[in-house]
Amino acid sequence: MEHNGFLQEQKTLEGDLNSDTSHKSSVDFLMNWFRKRSIFVLAYGTGCGAIEMPPTFTSRYDAERLGIRGAATPRQADVIIVSGYCSYKTLRRIIRTYEQMSNPKYLLALGSCTVNGGMYWDSYNTIKKLEDYLPVDMYVNGCMPRPESILEGFIALQKEIGEGKASSWQKYEENYEFYRKNQEAVLGEKVEPSYDADWYLYDGGL
């Protein structure tokens, strides 16, 4: 493969994007095409891998040419990136954030810590297999993954969205008892964080 600068690089990145094969109707095709071209990533750096996210989203590796940009709150985001290991405290907040996001939503797991515990395989405060607690769409391995790997992960995710195969949010809703059982086994009966109080109970009520 000759190195011809930007054009060649763009072709290798986008080459797979237009080969969508399985879609049920042209409406489905259009919906998936729109969804994959505009991905909003939640601004949440949960672990070590968050240090390679600024280079991916700024001018050198430029994820915005693929339609990917940051979003500030869970209600506005499409993708949540779990960038590395999850301690119990973080897992509670990730579950709360994930359940706040509106469908369709996708989860990208970075690093080897989400696959099998990684470097912290014998730590008493991190979980070893993220799939037991939240449904994962795409794994990107590395410790930590380079910006080029993260971009490849996004391209693969976009291809799956285009073919209609990325449906982890449906998996979460259908198998909610399974996920909830695993979450409770690790976090206790009350999975929500303890500050979850209704705001109007302060100051004596409405």
């Binding site: 240090i51 600024p54 405290k89």
Partner: protein, 367 residues
């Protein structure tokens, strides 16, 4: 009107927070009455993991204690093991270690610039600063094989020698950086909107800074010339010539000026290191590099990282495993004693500004 009091969480999922931590704020309107810091979202139990590992096994995870700037951790670990085991490092390895530490400091200061300018809305500075930092990471990739977690400084020296022509590439980068930093002066340091937001905000007094154990640019912004490289020199810093910049105002702008001047000093040190690099071996000859017998003794070593004094306590017990290693990063006291004090009476929109200026990095607080 009732319901003026409100309690909100600033973090952990927040675009304006420096890492994965949170600050619980009690507000009346937009003025903060009380702030409580919460950490523990990144707790991995490092000190327990290291007790189960020998020196070479611990060396692979020690650099992950501080995510934005891993090299002071490796240097501290190597220096502590060398002190306990009684090893003496060759001059070439010491100069290479100084070069790695100063390049890492430059990269961390660029990351600070991106965070600080993003906290007030100057997002263009962030784009440029992260791209310039990537040029330093390219050098690291050539030298050590990885962009962020290097695993290069090992007890006894460094892992491998410099590649061909590496010093010329470092010099080219330094010439580029000297020209480029003047651009940052124009768009960030002398920017009128940064000055109007930063002057007079987050003021720390000199007496309280010394008594409460604050370190690093917090002390330098109050007028105290505090730098571990001058007070208790380690490696070959006593052979290199550099200054310690200070300001007297003690506010966010003073600390920003101090950090900007430190970047110039880092470039000055690197030029001297490139000119003076001695020949020789980079690793001392040992029968095996895999086993270190640590005597029943303890020690306390410290280096100057970009955010302040980083110290390690290490104790051995006569076996091959490390008995206890405690990490004392600069952010432990800054995030609790200092931040909860500074935020009382501040505005909600200044929280991100103050946190970035103190350089609070949560992974080293809870390890």
């Amino acid at each position: 009107m009732e319901n003026k009091h409100i309690t909100i969480f600033h973090g952990p999922q927040h675009p304006g927070i420096t890492g994965n931590m949170s600050v619980e704020l009690d507000l009346i309107g937009e003025t903060i009455q009380k702030a409580t810091t919460h950490v523990g979202y990144l707790h991995r139990g490092f000190e327990k993991l290291i007790e189960r590992r020998t020196v070479i096994q611990a060396f692979t995870i020690v650099c992950r204690i501080c995510v934005p700037e891993p090299d002071p951790n490796e240097a501290n670990f190597a220096m502590a093991v060398e002190e306990l085991a009684g090893l003496e490092v060759t001059p070439r390895a010491q100069y290479i270690r100084v070069m790695v530490l100063e390049l890492s400091r430059l990269a961390a200061q660029f990351l600070w610039m991106a965070g600080q300018s993003g906290s007030i809305g100057l997002y263009a500075v962030g784009q440029w600063a992260i791209a310039d930092r990537d040029l330093i990471l390219d050098l690291f990739e050539e030298l050590t094989g990885a962009r962020v977690y290097h695993m290069y400084i090992y007890p006894g020296g460094v892992r491998r020698d410099l590649p061909e022509g590496f010093l010329e590439r470092v010099s080219t980068l330094l010439t580029y950086m000297k020209k480029r930093l003047k651009v940052y002066d124009d768009i960030f340091i002398n920017n009128a909107s940064f000055k109007s937001r930063a002057i007079g905000v987050g003021v720390i007094s000199k007496e309280e800074a010394v008594a409460n154990g604050y370190v690093g640019q917090v002390l330098r912004g109050c007028g105290i010339e505090a730098d571990v490289r001058k007070d208790a020199p380690y490696l070959v810093y006593n052979e290199l010539e550099f200054e310690v910049p200070t300001q007297t105002a003690g506010d966010v702008y003073a600390r920003a000026l101090v950090r900007r001047d430190e970047m110039d000093q880092s470039i000055h040190i690197l030029e001297q290191v490139v000119a003076k690099m001695p020949e020789g071996e980079v690793m001392i000859k040992m029968p095996t590099h895999r086993k270190f017998k640590l005597p029943k003794d303890d020690t306390w070593v410290k280096v100057e990282s970009a955010r302040g004094e980083f110290a390690y306590y290490m104790a051995g017990d006569g076996s091959e495993k490390i008995r206890r290693m405690q990490v004392r990063g600069p952010s432990l006291v800054h995030a609790f004693t200092l931040l909860e004090d500074l935020l009382v009476g501040a505005e909600l929109s200044d929280v991100a500004l103050i946190m970035n200026s103190l350089g609070i990095c949560p992974p080293e607080i809870e390890r």
